[in-house]
Amino acid sequence: MAEYAIELRNITKTFGSVIANKNITLKVKPGEILALLGENGSGKTTLMNVLSGIYKPDGGQIFVNGKEVSITSPEESKKLGIGMVHQHFKLIDVFSAADNICLGDNSGKFFLSKNRYKKIDDFAKKLGFEIDSRKIVMNMAVSEKQTLEIIKVLYYGAKIIILDEPTAVLTVQETSRLFDILRKMKNEGHSIVIITHKLNEVMEISDRVTVLRKGEYIDTVTTSETNNQKLTELMVGRKINLNIERPVTEKQPPLLEIRNLTVKDDEGNTAINDLSFYIRSGEILGVAGIAGCGQKELCEAIAGLRPIVCGKLIHKGESIAGLSPKKIIEKGIAMSFIPEDRLGMGLSPSLSITDNMLLKNYTQASSKFNPFINRKKGRSDAETVIKDLSIDTPSTETPVRKLSGGNVQKVLVGREIKAGPNVIVTAYPVRGLDINSSYAIYNILNKQKKDGVGILYVGEDLDVMLELCDKIMVLCRGKMMGVVNSCNTTKEMLGLMMTGTENLTAKDGKTPGIAADSNIKEA
């Protein structure tokens, strides 16, 4: 048996003038878990896409079990026993689980076999997975989809399994279940490469760590001989303080109060169900929950983008329910929602930074009866934001889509802050960002908090939320599971609340989410 299951030598991959991978070397032993660590844009996913045949490398060699191979398509990669679970699942939503697997079946048969469901159920059971092969992917939970992806890869006999940020969408409990599966697969002799930028997970699951930075290979270390701090230095290239600051502010009266809010989603199902909570000035309220438990609808309702079914939205004692988004902006409520594809909401990708600045304040930037926009003001706003948040851009006139993910998000957050709001609703502001950019965003939010802004922070990373937020509200299927103080709760507790196993609202007598010093006078 060869010493390495996979060996990549001097892999180079460029996209136009951008060098995504530069002379990268990577070795994976049989039966080990290798973590591939690096910031955004460090080339982790590109490298693995080269290995799985999606990208054709411009240079370098690939060895599988000691033999040099050339991988020019996903099909060849599959034949070599390499399987990849992509970050954005490669599943057909309208197909059943079984059909998604059958898709890769290249045996000669022309007709689909009738017992494909049973065959796949049996296969899954043999490996210890629970799955209903007739279930349509569209109706599956995220963790089910991921399990299906793993079964899919194993079904075609993959010995080398690549997982691209597999835990990004999972709850704590689901993550630990995934890790159990990975350990089991490792013991059965599979080689696993796991891409992540969560250091805790690297320390927990991996045997060795390979670190990339800006498309270049930095080092490979044994996990047991390293720690978070050392890994961060390798990843970022300099020392960085990993603690998130949580400034203490004086207790202020409630700024935004939500009472008995009910909102429907696009499909007409109840997305937010009878929700009550409040945010004080100088406070960060975290919102935790599994993806799709109503966070998006909540943000949209507050920003006036989504009609509410019933309930009260009280801002500084005045109702904002039913006001137009423009009126709500004028009241000083800002929203920055970072959807999964980052550019979807809030910014217009093909417009320049200046134009995107003007989108929000064109009314203030010129007088009421002046039909022309004031580009000078927009440009100076853009310059301020670029300088304040150290945005890396060639000029203020660069189309936003040409910036890297982190910089795009800074533009969005920067614009919202520029307007001087008193409430910021921010959802996933660090989604997919690397450590450096994430910390920059945390600092911006903390600065706003110190200035007395009330912040609603919808997040995914519980570790971060526990450090950054003052209080955390947990949602499960649109219902509140309780509001906890981040100082005296745990990740596990939050995980249980997110899945609805633990419901704190039912425990103590008083209803959470209603301030004692409320502005709302009960009729």
Partner: protein, 334 residues
């Protein structure tokens, strides 16, 4: 007594005409469904049918053979499909624009060739094999059933072929492995690609097959109109556009396309046959013949518009539209 028999004959004739004049829609619709299932929106149906019609008809007449006529309608329309595939799959051109171009180009080519021949344009009656080939085929016993026998079992060969193609396409999409892979490409090409499906090959093959089927439809229309190349309207005369709407009406199912063809055919036939059909109406429906003929002409398009509006109001979940239709796939896209 006599009046009643006449009325029955008129109704039978009407139903017969629904099939005979509209089966072209089935060819267009099934061809477009196969194309769209591969994630390609080919708006060139009208042009592709026109090309298939003119070349199929001419070559069929010149060789005095139905089979060669069909073959050339397949080849010439298939070439339109190849052009579309080359432009959109290999060169990644915009599908909408490419499709519209093919429509304009195809109809233009049809007139260019047809008018170019002038008096030399072959008359169908001169070619026995063609004019006889377009005659009805009576299915033994079944064609003796009153009304249904005439309407369904006394049609020409291409009507039966059209229905057979629709049913085969339905089975292909639903029960076969290549059909599954094809649907996967239309839904999420990146996922299909990662499972080792050859996207480029599948797209090329199905775009070409889809166009070839449209081409037979065009040829069929030439035969039904007995090759009369007069006036300013094309043999396919807007059927290609209705077929595109029918795809939505049939919710991307070739089997439902048969039903859709009959329903649209009904409205379509009203315009040309309303006068004579009115003879068969009982007295209390007599007012139907007073409705202006223009209304009946507009009806198919009006129905098309209503169907499109109704369809767009349905929620995504119930829709069968392939998610990736109209979007070009490039593996290394970032």
């Amino acid at each position: 007594m006599n009046i009643q028999i006449d009325a029955l004959n008129t109704v039978t004739m009407f139903l017969f005409n629904i099939i005979v004049y509209n089966i072209v829609l089935l060819y267009g619709t099934v061809g477009e469904i196969i194309t769209e299932k591969s994630g390609s929106l080919n708006l060139g149906v009208e042009g592709t049918m026109a090309v298939g019609a003119i070349f199929g008809y001419l070559m069929g007449c010149y060789t005095n053979s139905m089979m060669i006529g069909i073959l050339f309608s397949i080849i010439s329309a298939g070439l339109c499909g190849l052009l579309f595939a080359f432009l959109t799959v290999t060169l990644q051109a915009n599908q909408n624009v490419t499709g519209l171009t093919i429509s304009t180009f195809g109809v233009g080519l049809y007139f260019f060739v047809g008018k170019g021949l002038g008096d030399n344009f072959p008359a169908m009656s001169d070619y026995s094999a063609i004019s006889e080939g377009a005659n009805p085929i009576y299915i033994p016993f079944l064609s003796d059933i009153p009304v249904i026998g005439k309407v369904i079992f006394s049609q020409n060969i291409l009507v039966y072929v059209g229905v057979a193609i629709a049913i085969l396409a339905w089975v292909y999409l639903k029960y076969t492995k290549p059909g599954l892979k094809l649907r996967a490409i239309g839904e999420n090409p990146a996922a299909a690609d990662s499972m080792g499906v050859n996207i480029t090959l599948y797209k090329y093959i199905h775009i070409i097959i889809g166009s070839a089927i449209m081409g037979i439809g065009g040829y069929y229309m030439g035969l039904v109109l007995r090759g009369s190349f007069e006036g300013s309207s094309c043999w396919t005369d807007g059927y290609g556009w209705i077929a595109i709407a029918l795809v939505i009406f049939a919710s991307w199912s070739p089997a439902k396309a048969i039903l859709g063809t009959i329903i649209f055919g009904f409205f379509n036939t009203l315009q040309s046959r309303s006068g004579s059909l009115a003879q068969a109406f009982p007295d209390f429906l007599g007012w139907l013949k007073d409705i202006p003929a223009q209304f009946y002409s507009a009806l198919p398009f009006l129905i098309t518009a209503i169907v499109l509006v109704a369809e767009s109001m349905r929620k995504r979940k119930n829709k069968n539209e392939p998610s990736a239709v109209g979007i070009n796939y490039y593996r290394e896209d970032r």
